[in-house]
Symmetry: C2
Subunit: 112 residues, 2 copies
């Protein structure tokens, strides 16, 4: 099965963060793909963040494609991350992401 949707959602203050992010969703829960709740490309605008938030029912991976940021890891550790890094949280843990730079940060987000 191929998904090539070009749909784009713009979210301001994502999870209580600042600025805006764009989500290009390829798969969501509605698609009922076993083992996969979300597969999306996410663009975090310059000086924008995804607020620290908990995943009570699923786990998530962020894979950075472009740019640099600060990953807010479980236990609120602040970890500098860059393109090529994979940031994982388990079910029940929390995370967030800050792009404090002047360039966009692009990543793949997978909820599973």
């Amino acid at each position: 099965m191929i998904r090539n949707t070009q749909e784009k959602t713009v979210i301001e203050n994502a999870h209580g963060g600042i600025g805006k992010i764009e989500i290009h969703k390829k798969i969501t829960k509605e698609d009922q793909v076993e083992g996969l709740s979300l597969f999306a490309k996410v663009v975090v605008s310059p000086h924008s963040t995804i607020g620290y938030h908990q995943h009570t029912d699923d786990a998530e991976a962020y894979y950075l494609l472009k740019g640099e940021g600060i990953f807010l890891d479980h236990n609120e550790a602040r970890v500098p991350v860059k393109a090529g890094d994979l940031c994982l949280i388990k079910k029940g843990q929390s995370h967030g992401l800050e792009n404090l730079t002047d360039q966009e940060l692009e990543m793949i987000a997978v909820v599973y």
Copy 2:
């Protein structure tokens, strides 16, 4: 948890295909991440392929980052794909990928 391994594996004739691919593995089964068996960036060299093969125990997603190819979908359908496309197979299904162009094809492969 952050994974920023730079490890690269070169495979020739992957799953009976032609030419070579490079796999940059971020997560494998050995990491015991619940719900995720593999998260990797894969580079398929020009005029190289991943042979058609079955996933008996897991499902896989290919997300194309760069380049163009032919996705060999379940039931052996041949589907042209390009950057931005997500190619999914379910547990039990088969797939493969051909890069018949003069440029590299880059993708994210997620086994779950």
